[in-house]
Protein backbone atom coordinates (compact mmCIF):
# COMPACT_ATOMS: atom_id res chain seq x y z
CA UNK A 1 0.00 0.00 0.00
CA UNK A 2 1.30 3.40 -0.92
CA UNK A 3 1.85 5.95 1.77
CA UNK A 4 0.57 8.79 -0.31
CA UNK A 5 -1.49 8.54 -3.44
CA UNK A 6 -2.35 11.52 -5.58
CA UNK A 7 -4.90 11.12 -8.33
CA UNK A 8 -5.69 13.78 -10.92
CA UNK A 9 -4.72 16.68 -8.76
CA UNK A 10 -5.73 19.93 -10.43
CA UNK A 11 -5.15 23.41 -9.09
CA UNK A 12 -6.57 26.54 -10.63
CA UNK A 13 -6.97 30.20 -9.88
CA UNK A 14 -10.52 30.97 -8.78
CA UNK A 15 -10.57 34.44 -10.34
CA UNK A 16 -8.83 34.02 -13.65
CA UNK A 17 -9.73 30.33 -14.10
CA UNK A 18 -6.14 29.71 -15.16
CA UNK A 19 -5.10 26.12 -14.44
CA UNK A 20 -1.78 26.04 -12.59
CA UNK A 21 -1.39 22.31 -12.12
CA UNK A 22 -2.96 19.96 -14.68
CA UNK A 23 -4.11 16.45 -13.80
CA UNK A 24 -1.16 15.23 -11.81
CA UNK A 25 -0.99 11.73 -10.38
CA UNK A 26 1.77 10.05 -8.47
CA UNK A 27 2.32 7.71 -5.58
CA UNK A 28 4.85 7.74 -2.81
CA UNK A 29 5.90 4.55 -1.07
CA UNK A 30 6.96 4.31 2.53
CA UNK A 31 10.57 5.48 3.01
CA UNK A 32 11.11 6.52 -0.60
CA UNK A 33 12.27 9.83 -1.94
CA UNK A 34 10.42 11.47 -4.80
CA UNK A 35 11.90 14.51 -6.49
CA UNK A 36 9.89 17.08 -8.42
CA UNK A 37 12.04 18.91 -10.95
CA UNK A 38 11.22 21.89 -13.09
CA UNK A 39 11.96 25.52 -13.72
CA UNK A 40 10.44 28.32 -11.70
CA UNK A 41 6.78 28.78 -12.52
CA UNK A 42 6.29 25.13 -13.41
CA UNK A 43 3.91 24.56 -10.52
CA UNK A 44 6.11 22.39 -8.34
CA UNK A 45 5.70 24.43 -5.18
CA UNK A 46 1.97 24.73 -5.73
CA UNK A 47 1.74 20.94 -6.03
CA UNK A 48 3.57 20.56 -2.75
CA UNK A 49 1.39 23.02 -0.95
CA UNK A 50 -1.71 21.40 -2.40
CA UNK A 51 -0.71 18.15 -0.70
CA UNK A 52 -0.72 19.83 2.68
CA UNK A 53 -3.68 21.99 1.63
CA UNK A 54 -1.75 25.13 2.35
CA UNK A 55 -2.47 27.04 -0.83
CA UNK A 56 -4.05 30.46 -0.66
CA UNK A 57 -7.82 30.70 -0.63
CA UNK A 58 -7.84 32.06 -4.17
CA UNK A 59 -6.49 28.77 -5.49
CA UNK A 60 -8.96 25.91 -5.82
CA UNK A 61 -8.01 22.30 -6.10
CA UNK A 62 -9.71 19.03 -6.87
CA UNK A 63 -8.64 15.44 -7.41
CA UNK A 64 -7.94 12.88 -4.76
CA UNK A 65 -5.17 12.76 -2.23
CA UNK A 66 -5.07 9.63 -0.14
CA UNK A 67 -2.80 9.40 2.84
CA UNK A 68 -2.76 5.85 4.23
CA UNK A 69 -6.14 5.25 2.61
CA UNK A 70 -7.63 8.32 4.20
CA UNK A 71 -9.04 11.01 1.96
CA UNK A 72 -7.52 14.32 2.87
CA UNK A 73 -10.08 16.60 1.22
CA UNK A 74 -12.93 15.56 3.45
CA UNK A 75 -11.03 16.42 6.61
CA UNK A 76 -11.94 19.64 8.33
CA UNK A 77 -9.38 22.38 8.72
CA UNK A 78 -8.91 21.38 12.34
CA UNK A 79 -8.19 17.76 11.53
CA UNK A 80 -5.93 18.76 8.69
CA UNK A 81 -4.00 21.00 11.00
CA UNK A 82 -3.22 18.03 13.20
CA UNK A 83 -1.91 16.16 10.20
CA UNK A 84 0.45 18.90 9.19
CA UNK A 85 3.49 18.73 11.36
CA UNK A 86 2.76 15.30 12.70
CA UNK A 87 2.33 13.47 9.40
CA UNK A 88 3.56 16.00 6.88
CA UNK A 89 6.39 18.27 7.73
CA UNK A 90 7.39 21.07 5.41
CA UNK A 91 10.89 22.43 5.05
CA UNK A 92 10.64 25.71 3.26
CA UNK A 93 12.96 27.39 0.85
CA UNK A 94 13.66 30.53 2.72
CA UNK A 95 14.70 29.98 6.32
CA UNK A 96 14.91 33.73 6.84
CA UNK A 97 11.17 34.21 6.52
CA UNK A 98 9.95 30.90 7.89
CA UNK A 99 10.24 31.88 11.55
CA UNK A 100 8.37 34.55 13.45
CA UNK A 101 10.77 37.52 13.53
CA UNK A 102 9.27 38.94 16.70
CA UNK A 103 10.03 36.08 19.04
CA UNK A 104 12.90 33.83 19.90
CA UNK A 105 13.41 30.64 17.95
CA UNK A 106 12.53 28.48 20.94
CA UNK A 107 9.05 29.98 21.28
CA UNK A 108 8.21 28.73 17.84
CA UNK A 109 9.84 25.34 18.39
CA UNK A 110 8.18 24.63 21.73
CA UNK A 111 4.81 25.77 20.48
CA UNK A 112 4.97 23.37 17.56
CA UNK A 113 6.05 20.47 19.74
CA UNK A 114 3.38 21.26 22.30
CA UNK A 115 0.61 21.33 19.72
CA UNK A 116 1.53 18.13 17.98
CA UNK A 117 3.06 15.93 20.64
CA UNK A 118 1.86 17.63 23.80
CA UNK A 119 5.33 17.76 25.31
CA UNK A 120 6.06 20.04 28.20
CA UNK A 121 8.90 22.54 28.01
CA UNK A 122 11.61 20.43 29.66
CA UNK A 123 11.07 17.50 27.37
CA UNK A 124 10.84 19.68 24.26
CA UNK A 125 14.07 21.36 25.17
CA UNK A 126 15.89 18.10 25.73
CA UNK A 127 14.64 16.64 22.47
CA UNK A 128 15.36 19.79 20.50
CA UNK A 129 18.93 19.94 21.78
CA UNK A 130 19.40 16.36 20.71
CA UNK A 131 17.91 17.01 17.29
CA UNK A 132 19.94 20.17 16.78
CA UNK A 133 23.14 18.44 17.66
CA UNK A 134 22.42 15.79 15.10
CA UNK A 135 22.25 18.49 12.41
CA UNK A 136 25.61 19.88 13.51
CA UNK A 137 24.36 22.91 15.38
CA UNK A 138 26.63 23.49 18.33
CA UNK A 139 25.47 25.49 21.37
CA UNK A 140 21.88 24.48 20.74
CA UNK A 141 20.73 26.17 23.94
CA UNK A 142 22.24 29.48 22.95
CA UNK A 143 20.79 29.30 19.45
CA UNK A 144 17.29 28.68 20.76
CA UNK A 145 17.51 31.92 22.69
CA UNK A 146 18.24 33.96 19.59
CA UNK A 147 15.97 35.79 17.19
CA UNK A 148 15.81 34.67 13.54
CA UNK A 149 17.68 37.74 12.26
CA UNK A 150 20.69 36.86 14.41
CA UNK A 151 21.21 33.56 12.63
CA UNK A 152 22.35 32.81 9.10
CA UNK A 153 20.14 31.25 6.42
CA UNK A 154 21.95 27.94 6.63
CA UNK A 155 21.47 27.74 10.39
CA UNK A 156 17.74 28.47 10.18
CA UNK A 157 17.39 25.89 7.46
CA UNK A 158 19.05 23.35 9.72
CA UNK A 159 16.83 24.35 12.65
CA UNK A 160 13.83 23.63 10.45
CA UNK A 161 15.26 20.22 9.69
CA UNK A 162 15.96 19.63 13.38
CA UNK A 163 12.33 20.40 14.12
CA UNK A 164 11.31 17.90 11.47
CA UNK A 165 13.59 15.36 13.17
CA UNK A 166 11.96 15.92 16.53
CA UNK A 167 8.45 15.62 15.10
CA UNK A 168 9.28 12.37 13.32
CA UNK A 169 6.78 12.85 10.50
CA UNK A 170 5.83 10.25 7.90
CA UNK A 171 6.49 12.53 4.97
CA UNK A 172 8.89 15.42 4.75
CA UNK A 173 8.07 17.90 2.01
CA UNK A 174 11.25 19.81 1.27
CA UNK A 175 10.59 22.77 -1.01
CA UNK A 176 13.94 23.86 -2.47
CA UNK A 177 15.79 23.19 0.79
CA UNK A 178 19.23 23.98 -0.59
CA UNK A 179 18.63 26.76 -3.09
CA UNK A 180 19.31 29.65 -0.74
CA UNK A 181 22.41 28.07 0.80
CA UNK A 182 26.09 28.19 -0.02
CA UNK A 183 28.04 25.16 -1.15
CA UNK A 184 29.16 23.87 2.23
CA UNK A 185 25.78 24.21 3.94
CA UNK A 186 24.14 22.65 0.90
CA UNK A 187 26.23 19.57 1.34
CA UNK A 188 25.45 19.43 5.07
CA UNK A 189 21.71 19.80 4.57
CA UNK A 190 21.67 17.00 2.00
CA UNK A 191 23.66 14.84 4.38
CA UNK A 192 21.05 15.45 7.10
CA UNK A 193 18.15 14.60 4.82
CA UNK A 194 19.84 11.37 3.88
CA UNK A 195 20.40 10.56 7.55
CA UNK A 196 16.76 11.23 8.45
CA UNK A 197 15.70 8.78 5.81
CA UNK A 198 17.98 6.09 7.11
CA UNK A 199 17.15 6.56 10.76
CA UNK A 200 13.43 7.16 10.69
CA UNK A 201 12.39 5.61 7.41
CA UNK A 202 10.33 8.61 6.46
CA UNK A 203 9.44 9.47 2.90
CA UNK A 204 10.69 12.66 1.32
CA UNK A 205 9.20 14.80 -1.42
CA UNK A 206 12.02 16.97 -2.67
CA UNK A 207 11.33 19.96 -4.85
CA UNK A 208 14.33 21.37 -6.60
CA UNK A 209 15.61 22.82 -9.81
CA UNK A 210 19.12 21.63 -9.08
CA UNK A 211 19.55 18.32 -10.84
CA UNK A 212 22.79 17.64 -8.97
CA UNK A 213 20.95 17.56 -5.66
CA UNK A 214 18.15 15.44 -7.09
CA UNK A 215 20.46 12.86 -8.53
CA UNK A 216 22.17 12.63 -5.19
CA UNK A 217 19.21 11.61 -3.08
CA UNK A 218 16.04 10.81 -5.02
CA UNK A 219 14.72 7.37 -5.93
CA UNK A 220 12.16 8.67 -8.37
CA UNK A 221 11.91 11.83 -10.43
CA UNK A 222 8.91 13.73 -11.70
CA UNK A 223 9.65 16.35 -14.35
CA UNK A 224 7.16 19.19 -14.54
CA UNK A 225 6.71 22.00 -16.99
CA UNK A 226 3.91 24.56 -17.02
CA UNK A 227 1.91 22.51 -14.56
CA UNK A 228 2.08 19.28 -16.52
CA UNK A 229 4.01 16.16 -15.65
CA UNK A 230 6.20 15.40 -18.63
CA UNK A 231 8.09 12.42 -17.38
CA UNK A 232 8.42 10.23 -14.35
CA UNK A 233 10.55 7.27 -13.49
CA UNK A 234 13.52 5.96 -11.53
CA UNK A 235 16.26 8.51 -11.07
CA UNK A 236 19.04 6.56 -12.80
CA UNK A 237 16.93 5.68 -15.83
CA UNK A 238 15.54 9.19 -16.26
CA UNK A 239 19.01 10.69 -16.13
CA UNK A 240 20.53 8.05 -18.37
CA UNK A 241 17.78 7.95 -21.01
CA UNK A 242 15.57 11.00 -20.77
CA UNK A 243 12.51 10.43 -22.92
CA UNK A 244 11.23 13.97 -23.20
CA UNK A 245 13.04 16.78 -24.99
CA UNK A 246 12.56 19.10 -22.05
CA UNK A 247 14.27 16.70 -19.66
CA UNK A 248 17.12 16.39 -22.13
CA UNK A 249 17.36 20.17 -22.26
CA UNK A 250 17.48 20.46 -18.46
CA UNK A 251 20.17 17.81 -18.20
CA UNK A 252 22.19 19.33 -21.01
CA UNK A 253 22.24 22.84 -19.56
CA UNK A 254 23.24 21.57 -16.17
CA UNK A 255 26.03 19.42 -17.53
CA UNK A 256 27.38 22.26 -19.68
CA UNK A 257 28.06 24.25 -16.53
CA UNK A 258 29.61 21.40 -14.59
CA UNK A 259 31.51 19.72 -17.45
CA UNK A 260 33.98 22.55 -17.55
CA UNK A 261 34.46 22.24 -13.82
CA UNK A 262 34.84 18.48 -13.87
CA UNK A 263 37.40 18.74 -16.67
CA UNK A 264 39.44 21.07 -14.51
CA UNK A 265 39.20 18.74 -11.59
CA UNK A 266 39.96 15.52 -13.38
CA UNK A 267 43.65 15.96 -12.96
CA UNK A 268 43.38 15.97 -9.21
CA UNK A 269 42.04 13.47 -6.76
CA UNK A 270 40.25 16.16 -4.75
CA UNK A 271 36.90 15.46 -6.29
CA UNK A 272 35.86 11.91 -6.77
CA UNK A 273 33.17 11.90 -9.36
Amino acid sequence: MALLEVNNLRVWDAHTKRVIVHNTSFTLEEGKCLAIVGESGSGKSVTCRALAQLNKKSLCQDGEIHFRNERLQILSEKQMRKKRGKNFCMILQNGMTAFDPSCKIKVHLFETLKTHLNWEKKRSERKMIQAMESVNLKNAKEIMNKYPHQLSGGMLQRIMIALALALEPDIIIADEPTTALDTISQCEVMEQLRKIRLNMNCAIILVSHDLGVVRNIADEVLVMKEGKVLEKGDTPSVFANPAHDYTKYLIKTRSTISDNFIKLMERSNLVKS
Binding site: D182, T183, I184, Q186, T253, R254, I257, S258
Partner: protein, 247 residues
Protein backbone atom coordinates in the same frame (compact mmCIF):
# COMPACT_ATOMS: atom_id res chain seq x y z
CA UNK B 1 42.86 48.51 -13.73
CA UNK B 2 41.12 48.09 -10.44
CA UNK B 3 43.39 47.88 -7.45
CA UNK B 4 42.34 47.06 -3.91
CA UNK B 5 45.03 47.72 -1.36
CA UNK B 6 44.98 46.51 2.27
CA UNK B 7 41.33 47.25 2.90
CA UNK B 8 39.75 46.90 6.36
CA UNK B 9 36.08 47.35 7.17
CA UNK B 10 34.11 46.89 10.35
CA UNK B 11 30.56 47.63 11.39
CA UNK B 12 29.44 48.94 14.73
CA UNK B 13 27.20 46.69 16.67
CA UNK B 14 25.14 49.02 18.81
CA UNK B 15 24.21 46.95 21.78
CA UNK B 16 21.96 48.12 24.57
CA UNK B 17 24.74 48.45 27.13
CA UNK B 18 27.90 48.46 25.14
CA UNK B 19 28.72 48.96 21.53
CA UNK B 20 31.21 46.70 19.92
CA UNK B 21 32.58 46.62 16.44
CA UNK B 22 32.69 43.56 14.26
CA UNK B 23 35.38 43.21 11.66
CA UNK B 24 33.97 42.26 8.29
CA UNK B 25 36.99 42.67 6.04
CA UNK B 26 40.59 42.37 7.08
CA UNK B 27 43.58 43.27 4.98
CA UNK B 28 42.05 42.54 1.59
CA UNK B 29 44.26 43.21 -1.42
CA UNK B 30 43.87 42.19 -5.03
CA UNK B 31 43.95 43.52 -8.56
CA UNK B 32 41.74 43.09 -11.55
CA UNK B 33 43.06 44.16 -14.93
CA UNK B 34 41.02 45.52 -17.80
CA UNK B 35 39.06 42.79 -19.57
CA UNK B 36 39.67 40.20 -16.89
CA UNK B 37 36.96 38.23 -15.19
CA UNK B 38 37.64 37.75 -11.50
CA UNK B 39 35.47 35.47 -9.40
CA UNK B 40 35.11 36.09 -5.68
CA UNK B 41 33.96 32.92 -3.97
CA UNK B 42 32.89 32.58 -0.38
CA UNK B 43 30.14 31.29 1.84
CA UNK B 44 27.29 33.44 3.13
CA UNK B 45 28.41 35.83 5.84
CA UNK B 46 32.01 35.88 4.67
CA UNK B 47 31.85 39.56 3.74
CA UNK B 48 31.83 39.24 -0.02
CA UNK B 49 28.83 41.52 -0.50
CA UNK B 50 30.42 44.12 1.77
CA UNK B 51 33.49 43.97 -0.42
CA UNK B 52 31.19 44.45 -3.41
CA UNK B 53 29.70 47.60 -1.90
CA UNK B 54 33.19 48.98 -1.29
CA UNK B 55 34.21 48.23 -4.87
CA UNK B 56 31.40 50.30 -6.35
CA UNK B 57 32.19 53.12 -3.97
CA UNK B 58 28.94 53.34 -2.02
CA UNK B 59 30.70 52.57 1.25
CA UNK B 60 34.10 53.53 2.53
CA UNK B 61 36.67 51.28 4.16
CA UNK B 62 38.35 52.18 7.48
CA UNK B 63 41.78 51.65 6.08
CA UNK B 64 43.31 51.05 2.69
CA UNK B 65 42.45 52.33 -0.76
CA UNK B 66 40.57 51.22 -3.83
CA UNK B 67 41.80 52.73 -7.07
CA UNK B 68 40.32 52.61 -10.52
CA UNK B 69 42.80 53.45 -13.28
CA UNK B 70 45.03 55.05 -10.67
CA UNK B 71 42.34 57.29 -9.13
CA UNK B 72 40.39 56.81 -5.94
CA UNK B 73 36.97 55.24 -6.44
CA UNK B 74 35.41 57.24 -3.62
CA UNK B 75 35.23 60.39 -5.73
CA UNK B 76 32.01 60.41 -7.68
CA UNK B 77 33.70 62.00 -10.65
CA UNK B 78 36.20 59.18 -10.94
CA UNK B 79 33.74 56.36 -10.86
CA UNK B 80 31.04 57.90 -13.01
CA UNK B 81 30.14 55.53 -15.86
CA UNK B 82 33.24 53.45 -15.14
CA UNK B 83 31.74 50.85 -12.87
CA UNK B 84 28.25 49.34 -12.78
CA UNK B 85 26.59 46.68 -10.74
CA UNK B 86 24.01 43.91 -11.11
CA UNK B 87 22.44 42.69 -7.89
CA UNK B 88 21.02 39.36 -6.88
CA UNK B 89 17.48 40.42 -6.24
CA UNK B 90 16.14 41.15 -9.69
CA UNK B 91 12.68 41.94 -8.32
CA UNK B 92 13.77 44.87 -6.22
CA UNK B 93 16.52 46.31 -8.39
CA UNK B 94 14.24 47.95 -10.94
CA UNK B 95 11.98 50.77 -9.82
CA UNK B 96 8.44 49.35 -10.11
CA UNK B 97 7.10 52.62 -11.50
CA UNK B 98 9.63 52.66 -14.34
CA UNK B 99 9.20 50.92 -17.66
CA UNK B 100 12.11 48.94 -19.02
CA UNK B 101 12.96 51.95 -21.17
CA UNK B 102 13.10 54.35 -18.20
CA UNK B 103 15.20 51.91 -16.20
CA UNK B 104 17.82 51.55 -18.91
CA UNK B 105 17.81 55.29 -19.66
CA UNK B 106 18.41 56.32 -16.06
CA UNK B 107 22.22 55.95 -16.07
CA UNK B 108 22.41 57.36 -19.62
CA UNK B 109 20.56 60.52 -18.64
CA UNK B 110 22.96 60.97 -15.74
CA UNK B 111 25.93 61.24 -18.07
CA UNK B 112 24.18 63.51 -20.62
CA UNK B 113 24.94 61.79 -23.83
CA UNK B 114 23.98 63.46 -27.06
CA UNK B 115 23.08 60.50 -29.22
CA UNK B 116 19.65 59.27 -30.12
CA UNK B 117 18.47 57.45 -27.03
CA UNK B 118 15.71 55.43 -28.73
CA UNK B 119 18.24 53.81 -31.04
CA UNK B 120 20.53 52.98 -28.15
CA UNK B 121 17.77 51.31 -26.18
CA UNK B 122 16.79 49.07 -29.07
CA UNK B 123 20.41 48.12 -29.60
CA UNK B 124 20.93 47.30 -25.93
CA UNK B 125 17.79 45.20 -25.69
CA UNK B 126 18.75 43.19 -28.74
CA UNK B 127 22.21 42.73 -27.34
CA UNK B 128 20.90 41.12 -24.16
CA UNK B 129 18.56 38.90 -26.16
CA UNK B 130 15.26 40.72 -25.64
CA UNK B 131 13.01 42.08 -28.35
CA UNK B 132 12.73 45.91 -28.56
CA UNK B 133 9.00 45.57 -27.87
CA UNK B 134 9.93 44.99 -24.22
CA UNK B 135 10.70 48.64 -23.64
CA UNK B 136 7.16 49.56 -22.64
CA UNK B 137 6.80 46.74 -20.12
CA UNK B 138 6.91 47.15 -16.37
CA UNK B 139 9.17 45.04 -14.11
CA UNK B 140 6.31 42.91 -12.74
CA UNK B 141 5.53 41.72 -16.26
CA UNK B 142 8.98 40.22 -16.65
CA UNK B 143 10.19 36.79 -15.59
CA UNK B 144 13.32 36.45 -13.45
CA UNK B 145 15.64 35.83 -16.37
CA UNK B 146 14.18 38.73 -18.36
CA UNK B 147 14.44 41.13 -15.43
CA UNK B 148 18.05 40.15 -14.93
CA UNK B 149 18.70 40.79 -18.62
CA UNK B 150 17.23 44.27 -18.26
CA UNK B 151 19.56 44.86 -15.30
CA UNK B 152 22.49 43.75 -17.43
CA UNK B 153 21.39 46.03 -20.28
CA UNK B 154 21.26 48.89 -17.78
CA UNK B 155 24.71 48.01 -16.49
CA UNK B 156 26.34 47.93 -19.94
CA UNK B 157 24.52 51.03 -21.22
CA UNK B 158 27.28 53.43 -20.13
CA UNK B 159 30.00 51.10 -21.40
CA UNK B 160 31.80 50.87 -18.06
CA UNK B 161 35.26 49.42 -17.57
CA UNK B 162 34.01 47.13 -14.82
CA UNK B 163 30.76 45.41 -13.92
CA UNK B 164 30.23 43.91 -10.51
CA UNK B 165 27.86 40.95 -10.30
CA UNK B 166 26.75 40.37 -6.74
CA UNK B 167 25.21 36.87 -6.80
CA UNK B 168 23.56 37.97 -10.03
CA UNK B 169 22.66 34.50 -11.25
CA UNK B 170 22.23 32.59 -7.99
CA UNK B 171 18.47 32.97 -7.76
CA UNK B 172 17.80 31.93 -11.35
CA UNK B 173 17.06 28.47 -12.71
CA UNK B 174 20.01 26.47 -13.94
CA UNK B 175 18.96 26.67 -17.60
CA UNK B 176 18.49 30.46 -17.35
CA UNK B 177 21.82 30.69 -15.53
CA UNK B 178 23.52 29.15 -18.51
CA UNK B 179 21.83 31.57 -20.90
CA UNK B 180 22.94 34.54 -18.82
CA UNK B 181 26.50 33.20 -18.48
CA UNK B 182 26.74 32.73 -22.24
CA UNK B 183 25.36 36.23 -22.75
CA UNK B 184 27.97 37.65 -20.39
CA UNK B 185 30.77 35.84 -22.22
CA UNK B 186 29.55 37.31 -25.49
CA UNK B 187 29.26 40.83 -24.10
CA UNK B 188 32.72 40.60 -22.64
CA UNK B 189 34.18 39.88 -26.04
CA UNK B 190 32.40 42.79 -27.71
CA UNK B 191 32.89 45.43 -25.00
CA UNK B 192 36.22 44.38 -23.43
CA UNK B 193 34.87 44.96 -19.95
CA UNK B 194 36.22 43.52 -16.73
CA UNK B 195 33.87 41.44 -14.62
CA UNK B 196 33.94 40.95 -10.90
CA UNK B 197 31.76 38.00 -10.18
CA UNK B 198 30.74 37.52 -6.56
CA UNK B 199 29.15 34.13 -5.99
CA UNK B 200 29.00 31.06 -3.81
CA UNK B 201 28.55 28.79 -6.79
CA UNK B 202 32.03 27.65 -7.69
CA UNK B 203 30.87 25.73 -10.76
CA UNK B 204 29.26 28.74 -12.38
CA UNK B 205 32.35 30.77 -11.49
CA UNK B 206 34.69 28.35 -13.23
CA UNK B 207 32.49 28.56 -16.30
CA UNK B 208 33.13 32.25 -16.82
CA UNK B 209 36.04 33.50 -14.69
CA UNK B 210 39.71 33.69 -15.56
CA UNK B 211 40.86 33.91 -11.99
CA UNK B 212 39.26 32.94 -8.68
CA UNK B 213 39.66 34.55 -5.33
CA UNK B 214 38.63 32.38 -2.41
CA UNK B 215 37.29 34.37 0.45
CA UNK B 216 36.57 33.39 4.02
CA UNK B 217 35.78 35.35 7.20
CA UNK B 218 36.77 38.62 5.56
CA UNK B 219 40.16 37.44 4.41
CA UNK B 220 41.48 36.35 1.06
CA UNK B 221 42.45 32.72 1.44
CA UNK B 222 43.85 32.13 -1.96
CA UNK B 223 43.95 33.57 -5.48
CA UNK B 224 44.30 31.10 -8.27
CA UNK B 225 43.87 31.05 -12.05
CA UNK B 226 40.81 28.98 -12.94
CA UNK B 227 42.78 26.48 -14.98
CA UNK B 228 44.91 25.63 -11.94
CA UNK B 229 41.96 25.19 -9.61
CA UNK B 230 42.91 21.61 -8.85
CA UNK B 231 46.16 22.84 -7.34
CA UNK B 232 44.56 24.83 -4.49
CA UNK B 233 46.51 24.71 -1.28
CA UNK B 234 44.52 26.36 1.51
CA UNK B 235 42.50 23.94 3.65
CA UNK B 236 39.31 25.95 3.21
CA UNK B 237 39.47 25.85 -0.57
CA UNK B 238 40.02 22.12 -0.43
CA UNK B 239 37.02 21.69 1.81
CA UNK B 240 34.94 23.81 -0.56
CA UNK B 241 35.80 21.58 -3.49
CA UNK B 242 35.21 18.41 -1.56
CA UNK B 243 31.75 19.49 -0.45
CA UNK B 244 30.45 20.16 -3.92
CA UNK B 245 27.39 18.28 -5.03
CA UNK B 246 28.38 17.33 -8.52
CA UNK B 247 26.03 16.51 -11.27
Amino acid sequence: MLKVDHVDKSYNNNGFFKSSSRKILEDVSFECSQGECLGIIGESGSGKSTLGRLLIGIERPERGSIMINGESIFKRKNRKSKISVVFQDYRSSINPFFTVEDAILEPLRAINIEENLAVIIDKLLIQVGLSPSYKHKYPHELSGGEAQRVCIARAISTEPSYILFDEAISSLDVSIQLQILDLLKELKNSYKMGYIFITHDIQAATYICDRLLIFKDGRVQETIPTKDLHLVESPYAKKLLKNLILF
